[in-house]
Symmetry: C2
Subunit: 239 residues, 2 copies
């Protein structure tokens, strides 16, 4: 048992996590696969939310013993990273860019939003992400290429990528929370009663005015597009 320094505290070496390594030539043949396990975890999160992703439930889903999962991921946090990179595989990458970087950037953001709506746990999960996996890197490569015509240097393009991602994540997190199934009609009514009570106390005139106006619920797609346009056009204005 050499116990090389890779298994020390502070996180696993990203290389041994992400870089493909050849199957060992000795020892028992694996009965499961990392892909299958991660896929099961993603399905679970999609269907029942992040908090349903427990080692026990994932193991049950793939038909493994709980502790067998630890042969494929050193801990649950890492499993979460693998989930993130798996769904990053659904994002466009390797596609050619049009040369219109504003249009490309908006398309990128739209596909990010679509991905997060498909996987509503993603915005919350991204908040604790550590090291980008291969699919995330391929997507980053795509975005950086799309931004080539924007005349920004390397660091600035990276910044823009981070900012757009953060923005979309924040927006979708809010969007998903609003549309959540947890909003029963009585919960909604209670909320409305509370806000009305606050608005009626006289110390929140602006809030009262906003509450009084605007009753239609606002189309989420249109709202997102509007926000995105603002952000990207803001980028544009700087050049």
């Amino acid at each position: 048992m050499p116990d090389d320094e890779a298994s020390r505290a502070g996180g696993v070496d990203p290389r041994e996590l992400w870089l493909s390594q050849a199957r060992p030539r000795r020892g028992r043949r694996p009965a499961f696969s990392r892909e299958g396990i991660v896929a099961a975890a993603v399905e679970l999160a999609d269907a029942e939310g992040l908090e349903a992703v427990t080692m026990r439930r994932v193991a049950a889903r793939v038909g493994a013993g709980v502790m067998s999962l630890y042969s494929y991921a050193p801990d649950k946090e890492t499993l979460l990273e693998l989930m993130i990179d798996r769904v990053a595989g659904e994002l466009p990458a390797g596609r050619e860019v049009t040369g219109d970087w504003r249009a490309d950037l908006k398309a990128v953001a739209r596909s990010q939003r679509a991905n997060m709506l498909r996987h509503p746990w993603l915005p919350a999960a991204l908040a604790t992400r550590r090291t980008p996996g291969p699919n995330t890197l391929a997507f980053m490569e795509h975005v950086l290429a799309a931004l080539r015509s924007a005349g920004l240097d390397g660091a600035a393009r990276m910044e823009v990528f981070a900012q757009v991602t953060a923005f979309v994540a924040g927006h979708v997190a809010h969007e998903v929370a609003q549309a959540s199934a947890a909003w029963t009609s009585e919960r909604l009514a209670a909320e409305a009663r509370y806000l009305a009570e606050v608005a009626a106390d006289g110390r929140h005139p602006e809030l009262a005015a906003v509450l009084a106006s605007s009753r239609e619920p606002a189309d989420p797609d249109a709202t997102f597009t509007r926000f995105l346009d603002r952000l990207v056009d803001g980028l544009d204005a700087e050049l």
Copy 2:
């Protein structure tokens, strides 16, 4: 035991959570206070992160039995909401606006960022927030007032508020993750080695170029200001 419908599933009635209620005229006098408990929870989160906020540790910090906390908050999720609203009390509110809505909005965003840097758990916590408490509402009132001169209708002003908040939260979450104490030097070196390896595989030319350039770490304050200017100026361009 009437068990009125307020204690049903789907969350507590916001009114009985946020609206101040008179002390009951009968029964034992409370030994603790909601404020003290929430303050202890915030201190804990500030010092050791959100995952250190457990009912047991909060109780120990205020000198209460664990189950006593449940007299002040119906569950842990609600305690988290109370924490969020407590730190929202550190945001500017009730202050007069200058009339220059762009400057005011930028000042608002800066104070939000400062607050999130003081309480690094806040971006993550905000993702699951349900109902705005009084301090959050006061802050919203302030922002809405600042936006009065922008010529937007009620719903649009609310949108802008939500967008700026989402933007700042996303940005600071990223910022905090980068500067996290978990980045030991060996961890950092391992990350660099991994990225170098990826860049060297020839399939990530843009990434390689970015990695090759730009070695100075970039001032976080300046970066935030730049991004914020972009966003707000983008808003401006729309009018």
